[in-house]
């Protein structure tokens, strides 16, 4: 049994989960990584993607749209701009998110907005697939 660590996922509106996890897969801005207990302290921003939490009772998946993650000695916390549990992700929700991202991309015409939209599409196929 792997060593457990405290994991929190919070969004501005509520705390989505707070559990003991053995590993957390985080979609970092510079690439995915897996945080386990005793991971070196890192603060990273997130890209839209799927967050996977492995706990003693199974694996939970969340869709996050952005924010940042803090991996420290006390545990890992992810502060997501918007986060949804996999069960709450409906095709309509994904559609809305993607539509919004596309609008943003068309309006601002920046690489960042385009990357955001692309990442979101990739994340949505990953979570619904």
């Amino acid at each position: 049994m792997a060593e457990m660590m405290q994991f929190d996922l919070v969004s501005p509106e509520r705390r989505l989960t707070s559990v003991q996890a053995s590993e957390v897969q985080i979609p970092g801005a510079e690439g995915d990584f897996t945080a386990m207990a005793l991971h070196a302290p890192v603060i990273t921003t997130l890209r839209p993607g799927v967050l996977k939490v492995v706990t003693a009772s199974g694996t939970e998946e969340y869709l996050v749209t952005g924010g940042f993650a803090e991996v420290g000695a006390a545990g890992t916390s992810v502060l997501a701009e918007r986060a949804f549990a996999k069960a709450d992700v409906t095709p309509e929700l994904l559609e809305d998110l993607i539509k919004e991202a596309n609008l943003q991309r068309d309006a601002s015409n920046t690489d960042m907005a385009a990357k955001y939209a692309d990442d979101l599409v990739a994340a949505s196929t990953q979570i619904s697939g």
Binding site: V10, S11, P12, E13, V42, F68, L79
Partner: protein, 290 residues
């Protein structure tokens, strides 16, 4: 002696007023619970966010940091974001926030600064209109919003950031009410641009974090979000404060109406008794005269 009929009508009217205030109090109590829950649910995010920001901001040295953190070097134009409720009948809630903002604005004006005001919520706008109406640059209407979401705060923050980038102001402050308890809400002034994390307690600096991407890039990414987060928690605090203030104001009003009904009823009974006595005297003296 007041007419009996007039008294009776007055009692009836105070009774219906009491019913209304009682109902408003109960509605406010229910809403307060929800608002408090929302405020509490939002707290972990805000706390962590501020802790990380404080840590990051502490690492930035001198004037090299992003504008949102160190300012744009000027201190001339101040933007005051005054957040109040959309409705009245909540005691001194709106008035206290407006007063704090007015004092701050007048102080800045006396120092020769330029003041711009953005109002969130109708009541604050009305309260400040007469004196400071010429400084208004915008208004955010939240009267249609049933449940405050992060999106509301994000929109306001986006507006602020656009204005900041366009050089419309140098310093931004928000005015809102912090929720202490049902009977006590404190009007608060907080500077959000340039960001001020001096009030956040930084934990022990023992851990050295790796930053990915670089420290500066993270800071640049997070600072706009910090503005939104601070506005969001202010909105939540404000929501809870408003309902708390309304609840205690309506509680007072209900009690007051009750006292008034008691007084009027006594007066009514006395007058009635006097009328009866009078009639009796008339009858008796009439009978005696015969």
């Amino acid at each position: 002696m007041p007419n009996l009929k007039v008294l009776k009508n007055r009692i009836a009217s105070v009774k219906s007023t009491r019913k209304i205030t009682k109902a408003m109090q109960m509605v406010a109590a229910a809403k307060l619970r929800r608002a408090q829950e929302a405020a509490e649910a939002g707290r972990p995010y805000a706390e962590r966010f501020n802790a990380v920001m404080a840590q990051l901001a502490g690492g930035v040295s001198g004037d090299s940091g992003p504008k949102l953190l160190v300012g744009n070097g000027s201190n001339q134009t101040h933007l005051l974001v005054v957040m109040t409720a959309e409705r009245g009948l909540c005691g001194g809630f709106n008035g206290n926030i407006a007063k704090l903002a007015r004092v701050a604005a007048n102080k800045l004006l006396a120092e020769g600064k330029t003041v711009k005001i953005l109002t969130v919520g109708k009541k604050g706008r009305e309260a400040l209109k007469r004196e400071l109406g010429s400084h208004f640059i915008g208004h955010v209407d939240l009267s249609e919003v049933k449940k405050l979401g992060y999106d509301n705060a994000a929109t306001i923050a986006q507006d602020l950031l656009t204005r900041f980038d366009a050089g419309e102001f140098d310093v931004a402050k928000i005015f809102y009410s912090t929720f202490q308890s049902v009977i006590s809400q404190t009007p608060t002034e907080q500077q959000i641009i340039p960001a001020d994390f001096s009030h956040v307690e930084v934990g022990e600096q023992s851990t050295v974090y790796d930053y990915e991407p670089g420290e500066e890039a993270i800071l640049a990414d997070l600072l706009p979000r910090a503005v939104a987060t601070q506005i969001f928690s202010a909105l939540l605090e404000n929501g809870a404060s408003e309902q708390g203030a309304r609840m205690s104001a309506m509680d007072n009003a209900t009690r007051n109406a009750g006292d008034m009904i008691d007084k009027l009823t006594i007066q009514y009974n006395r007058s009635r008794q006097a009328v009866i006595t009078n009639e009796l005297i008339e009858i008796i003296s009439g009978a005696e005269a015969l």
